[in-house]
Each structure stands twice: as C-alpha cells, then as structure tokens.
Point group: C2
Chain length 308, copies 2
C-alpha cells in the first residue's frame, strides 16, 4: 500500500482509547500532560489500573481503596471523590466502546508555581484513560507458558520507595527486562538483593512447592490479582504462605505463575531457560487461571458499566 492511500478509519474517534485530561474527554492519541508536571519530572505520582471484562469493572472498590491510600501516603489530594472518579472511568470506557478494557488512573503532583521547588505548592492533577485490554502475555503465549529470567538487578528497596504506593519507579524493572531479552526471556522477576524474590514489571509471583503456594509478603505491590489468587486458592483449601520466597525455592518449585491485572494468572514454564516442573503449565496454575476468569462473572466482584 502506498503512503498516499489512507487506512480505513473507525467511525469511533475513541476506538484506540479514551482519556480524561483536565476535565475533557479526548482520543488517547491527543491525551497529553504538561511537561512541567512533577508527575513526570520527579515521577511524583501514584496510579492504579483496573480491568473491564464482560462490560464491568473487576474489583473496582479494591482498586480505588488502594489508589486513595497511595494518594494519602504521598500527601496528595484528589480533586475527585470515589463517586466522581467512578463516573469518569466509566465514561472513558463508554467512549472506548469495548466490553474488555485496561483502565488507568493517575494522580500527579502537578506543576509548581514559577520558581517554587516545594511539592506542597502544587495542585495535584487527576487523569485517566481506557484502552483495549492489555496482556502481559497473550492467551496463546500463556498456553505455552513464559520464560522468566531472575534478574541480577535488585528491586528498589521498600525503605526508599514504598512499593505499596503503586508507582512508576521502573528503572530497575526496565534494566531487568533488557537483561531478560538478552537471555531469551519473556520477562524478568527482581530479587531484594539478599536472595529473595520480589516482583516483576507489572506482576506479582507465586510458586507452588509441594502443594503449598508461596508469594512474597514485602517489597512488593499488594496486587489485587494477587489478592484474588490468594482468596481463590484458600477456597480450594490450598495453603498460601504470604512470606519469603527465596531464589533457591523458586528454582525448585513444582509450578510458578505470575499475576497481574494485565493478563490475570499467567503460567511460567521456564526459569532462565530451565523447565519449571515438567515444562508445561501446572494443574494448580490452570485451575486458578480458570477460576480467576470465572470470577469476572461473579456479581460480588463486578461493577457493571451502563454503556447506554
């Protein structure tokens, strides 16, 4: 096709994504934030991501709880309450016009008055956008399982940056990703620099060791998918240790999977190129993955969106 021809366009200008910026809804390609906002210049920002599946938000209340906790910990204030925020997020999804979506909300410190270096002088800014659902690994890739690399880059210490305040401090994660790609991995998990596993770019991790699930307790985001997996496992009477997962334990696990709002429960079938268990997605992993998606039809978790 020559460059002078044009691609057929969707009749919906929001088909690639709908954003809420400064009180207006705009197509995602036009969604921009001030270069002077300390959310960019100091990564002084918290965020959350909630999935829309089958036309409803999944565990929206949990995501909003976490988001508002983070806002408080950063000494910030949201210009919108939960109800107004829910309406903004719903309107983004409505304009996107999809029943499956990835919905991100950010609260940035804002732009200081000229000459100020004091974060208390800033008016905090809320932005949001909905785009088509994002997969860390596609369903096809998940059926094979991912090759995970244990990174030599330690995760930023929780003493320096509180990982329970969902944040964009991904410098260590991105280094881990480039390492993983060099070694043929799909993604990377980071340690705490003392031999224990923490988390990876956008996900928590679980290991099944002798029928018991282990997931790191500290130095990690308290993921909502992680929380869901813990609840589902306990409903199966599978014991879940929220504690310490050493790198040595991870390498001896019968099953390994990662959890994320961007893809759900995703099997890890290879660690640094070596097979996990028999090298295929494990039975507990597949059971929890199925239960996770089934939960998206459970009224107690779902906030239905009125698409009008």
């Amino acid at each position: 096709m020559s460059q002078t021809e044009t691609m057929p366009e969707s009749p919906n200008p929001f088909a690639q994504g709908a954003a809420f910026i400064d009180g207006d809804y705009v197509p995602i390609a036009e969604a921009r934030i001030p270069i002077t906002d300390w959310g960019f210049l100091h990564s002084d920002v918290t965020y959350d991501v909630v999935a829309v599946w089958g036309g409803g938000f999944f565990r929206l209340a949990d995501h909003l709880d976490r988001f508002f906790r983070g806002i408080g910990k950063l000494h910030m204030q949201s210009p919108h309450d939960r109800e107004a925020m829910t309406e903004i997020l719903s309107e983004c999804v409505r304009r996107l016009g999809l029943e499956e979506a990835y919905v991100k909300m950010t609260l940035t410190r804002g732009t200081p008055p000229p000459g100020s270096r004091d974060p208390r002088d800033c008016e905090n800014q809320f932005h949001a956008f909905a785009i088509p659902y994002v997969w860390i690994a596609t369903r096809e890739k998940q059926d094979l399982g991912l090759n995970l690399t244990v990174s030599g880059v330690p995760r930023i210490s929780p003493d320096s940056v509180d990982p329970t305040v969902k944040n964009f401090h991904w410098g260590d994660m991105v280094r881990g990703l480039f390492e993983a790609y060099d070694q043929g991995g799909d993604t990377a998990v980071l340690s705490d620099g003392k031999g224990n596993i923490t988390e990876g770019p956008g996900f928590n991790i679980f290991a099944n060791i002798d029928g018991r699930l282990i997931t790191p307790a500290s130095g990690v985001l308290l993921g909502i998918t992680r929380k869901t997996v813990i609840e589902l496992a306990e409903s199966l009477n599978v014991k879940v240790d929220v504690g310490t997962l050493s790198e040595a334990e991870l390498r001896q696990a019968d099953e390994v999977f990662i959890s994320s709002t961007a893809g759900g429960v995703m099997p890890i079938t290879s660690l640094d190129g070596n097979p996990v268990g028999d090298g295929g997605p494990g039975p507990l992993t597949l059971r929890l993955r199925q239960m996770y998606w089934d939960a998206h039809g459970d009224g107690k978790y779902v906030t239905r969106i009125d698409y009008r």
Copy 2:
C-alpha cells in the same frame, strides 16, 4: 482585582518559558507530552539541566557528554546529534529571551505500539525547555545559609537504579523533603542506609573537615557543579577526597555546602537545626561560591548564545 479584569501580558508569548516538543517551539504553558509515553508511565527517561548565565551555556559540552552517556546506558537513541541539540536548546533560550535561564532536555522511551509491553518497540522522544533560572535557594537565602535535614529515607540503591544516569526517580527525595519540612528544614540529604551520606533533591554535598573537602564518590549523580567545585578547590590547593562521607563526619564538619546547576554553591549553616561551624556560611564555601560565579565569565566554560 475582579476575575473579569486581565493581567497585563508580556509581549513575548515565551516569557514564562519556551519548549521544544515534537519539532515545534511552544510557550511552556502549552508544552505537553503524551500520557502514554513510558517516560511518564515507567519513568523511563534520562535528562539533563544546563544553566545559561550572562548569555552563554555553562559547561554545555559536559552536560551533553553526560546526557548522551545516559542515553546509551538506557539503550535509547537520540533523534538529534549534539549539534542539532545545541541549536534546539539555543532556540529555546532565544525565544525565552533571557540571559539567565534553566534549560532542561529529556529523552523519553516513547509510546509503544498498541498492545506492546516491549521498550525496544518504542521510538525515543527528545524534548527540551528553557525557563527563567531556578534557584534551590535564592541569593538572599544563601547569605543566611540553609537548614539541611539528614533524612531517614535511604537513597535508592545504585544497584537498582544507576544514579549516574540522571533520572526522575525522586520518590525517596520527595519523602525526604516532606520529612524536612515537618522538622523545619529547607531541604534534605539522604543516606545510603548504612550511615553514609549520598545526595539530595537536585544537589551534591561537600563537607569541609579540617581544611579538606569530602564529597561522596558513589550512589550519587556525578554533578557538573560538583566537578567544577572539585576543580576550583584543587586550584586553591585544597585537598578534595572523593570518597565516603559518613553521617557522623558530616555532623562534625567545619563547613557544609551543596552544589547544583540550580543555584551553584549554596551554604548549609544548620544541620537538623544545629549550627554548622559558627552557624554562618564558611570562608571556603564563600570563596568557592565566588569562584564558581566568576567561572561563568571564563571562555573555556562558556558557549555563547547568538540572541540575534
């Protein structure tokens, strides 16, 4: 004044700042980056700040060297070479129309194609802006000296995020600042979590102990103002130890000062509310401050800007 009245406007639309965004020069208030850029969403970005003083860039070559080294370490590529970049920065200053300016350049990872989570798929983006010169502490405040707080928050480890790649991972710095404000401090310096001092938000630190200057060697940005101070001190035959500065040593120092492109050499006269030395700016600090500003007239450091 009622809201219907308007403030008198400068005839120069760039008087508050001039930015280069996507190939266009725009007033700073209109300068925006895509919300989808991983420079924001993953703080996957490096930057530099160069001062303009008396109509010339100060040590521009050093700033560009550092910026390009950081770009390489992040596996990024600049769309502009040094010559083109110098012209863009000059044009920002020209439009701002000031002889004293704070000039920031950023290279962001960019926005991935829809669905991708791979930083290698992104086209890296260069942006820049010039605003009126920024002071961490005004000259009046500097004459009194600053009250510095030694933060309980450790600086992000260099094992996790390389501090020599100038970055926006300021979560620890902002926590330190809020702590400092609570304690009546002007700004904060962070330790490495093992009793040694590192750096603060936007500055390096020096202590004069028995006529010898000490500044931390590792876990810090290799500041250009720091480099200048070291050169100037050595020209005075003052010995400079680039090594380890313990918190205990800092508290016993005869003089303490911080160095930054945003303000130069700035005296610290109080540590956690306790006087440093006799409680006023020290003689070596004042000498180096004077020499620092004098160096802005030195042709070997200055790249003159043609304002036309």
